[in-house]
């Protein structure tokens, strides 16, 4: 970890600054595209630590201000949820009963 470029940006998925810059130079234009390309922001914290850092690098590489970047896409669940905790069946059945 001597070079600046090799510092980690997304520590959950161990993605370095170099990898993110390479993704942008190869065509990634949004935080979401960088995420799909490198997995930055796909780990346990879901980008809570690295999103702003990725935005800064992206803005710097593209020569725009962070305000001009497209907001990143959010999908549920926004926190890691174990499969066993997604017991929606019960709720769905109840809703169906109520509607029916």
């Amino acid at each position: 970890m001597n070079s600046d470029d090799e510092r980690y940006i997304c520590r959950c998925e161990e993605v370095t600054e170099k990898e993110i810059r390479e993704a942008v130079r190869a065509g990634a234009r949004t935080v979401t595209e960088v995420k799909r390309w490198t997995r930055a922001g796909m780990g346990i914290c879901q980008g809570r630590s690295c999103k702003r850092l990725v935005e800064r690098i992206l803005a710097e590489e593209l020569g725009v201000s962070p305000a001009e970047l497209e907001p990143s896409t959010v999908r549920p669940p926004i926190r890691p949820v174990s499969i066993s905790a997604i017991n929606m069946e019960e709720t769905r059945e109840r809703n169906d009963r109520e509607e029916g």
Partner: protein, 365 residues
């Protein structure tokens, strides 16, 4: 019937608690959800005295305000569900809540009040992932909630209120604050908090940044350097400090996830933490049934968060028919007056202007 569905408030910090209290007082059904095992948000970590006027409990410590809000919510019998994470919301205002990480529940809400706070910003520099480098809020949680001292020699990055308040509390806990580093040419915190550290002889390094952190198993040294006009470190000014802890106090970002899922439009306001949902004068987002309050609607302070929570609570109760037009107007006016009073002075004026811009922008769309 819309009126019989509950108003769901997400986040039981100062903003969420105040919103729920107003709703319950007006007679509206309300459910308050929080991921933690105790309500209060960050208030119970705030052992310093608050600012503002007397109505704003100036001179009162954060945890005391937290205790009185909790007492009030208990007395009113508010349905507070703890250890409940909200992980989703759909456009039909169905809230996906996960209890104790074990089971899911869908709650149909008539109105949604998002009081989900903010996330601390990170700063990346070589060595920032070493054990011993943490955010200031993390250090504050360790000392004030868990009574654990994170280290003995601390370097703080960022001279804003969070940096100087946590720095002083670390000193009170027995750590030595080796220095406070500020990239800007001038200090960012309130004079009262800054002066406590200055009087204790803590050096402040303005126009300076952290260049790298080093250590074998964990943090042992930090190198700092002055920055040039474009915030790049000047190599000839580097100096190395022996530290075992670095606290990052470099700002907060509003938590946007749930408002984004609800379809709320956003605006970028650097003074209040970056991208955040747009809101009108009643804290209503671009989605009429969804309100945003506290840090998630622009990073300010616990005192402003409480007033924003009250505004949203009153307005939501009125919109569902639980409050008369006159009562609503009166309560909104007095709350706005208190909010304006909190947004005065050198620091407050900037926040006042930013908030005015957000409200203006929400009317244009």
């Amino acid at each position: 019937m819309e009126k019989h569905k509950p108003v769901v408030v997400v986040g039981a910090g100062p903003a969420g608690l105040c919103a729920a209290i107003e709703l319950k007082k007006a007679g509206a059904p309300v459910i308050l959800l929080d991921e933690n095992d105790k309500p209060g948000g960050q208030l119970f970590k705030q052992i310093h005295k608050f600012f503002g006027s007397r109505e704003h409990k100036a001179g009162t410590r954060g945890f005391t305000i937290g205790t009185s809000l909790l007492d009030e919510s208990l007395k009113l019998g508010i349905d507070v569900r703890l250890e409940t994470e909200v992980v989703g919301v759909d456009p039909g205002l169905r809230v996906w809540a996960v209890r104790q990480r074990a089971s899911s529940e869908l709650i149909e809400a008539s109105r949604l009040i998002l009081a989900t706070g903010a996330t601390e910003n990170a700063l990346s520099f070589p060595g920032w992932t070493l054990p011993g480098v943490m955010t200031a809020g993390c250090a504050q949680t360790l000392i004030n909630v868990y009574r654990v001292l994170p280290g003995k020699r601390v370097l703080i990055i960022g001279s804003g209120n969070v940096g100087v308040i946590v720095g002083y509390q670390l000193m009170q806990s027995g750590a030595e604050v080796v220095g406070i580093v500020e990239a800007l040419p001038s200090l960012g915190g309130y004079g009262v908090h800054t002066a406590k550290l200055a009087r204790a002889g803590v050096p402040f390094y303005t126009g300076t940044t952290v260049v790298r952190a080093e250590g074998v198993e964990s943090l042992e040294r930090a190198t700092i350097a002055q920055v040039d006009g474009s915030f790049k470190p000047i190599a000839s000014t580097e100096r190395t400090l022996d530290v075992d802890t670095i606290c990052l106090a470099v700002g907060l970002t509003p938590s946007l996830e749930l408002s984004s899922l609800a379809g709320c439009r956003t605006i970028y306001v650097p003074e209040l933490g970056g991208r955040m949902p747009l809101h009108d004068e009643y804290m209503r987002s671009s989605v009429q049934e969804v309100y945003v309050v506290g840090d998630t609607a622009g990073v300010e302070e616990a005192s402003t968060a409480m007033e924003e929570g009250r505004l949203a609570g009153v307005h939501a109760a009125w919109s569902l028919g639980y409050m008369s037009d006159d009562d609503m107007k009166e309560r909104v006016d007095e709350t706005k007056q208190r909010l304006n009073a909190l947004r005065q002075g050198v620091f407050g004026q900037k926040r006042f202007n930013a908030k005015a811009r957000i409200i203006q922008e929400s009317q244009l769309r």
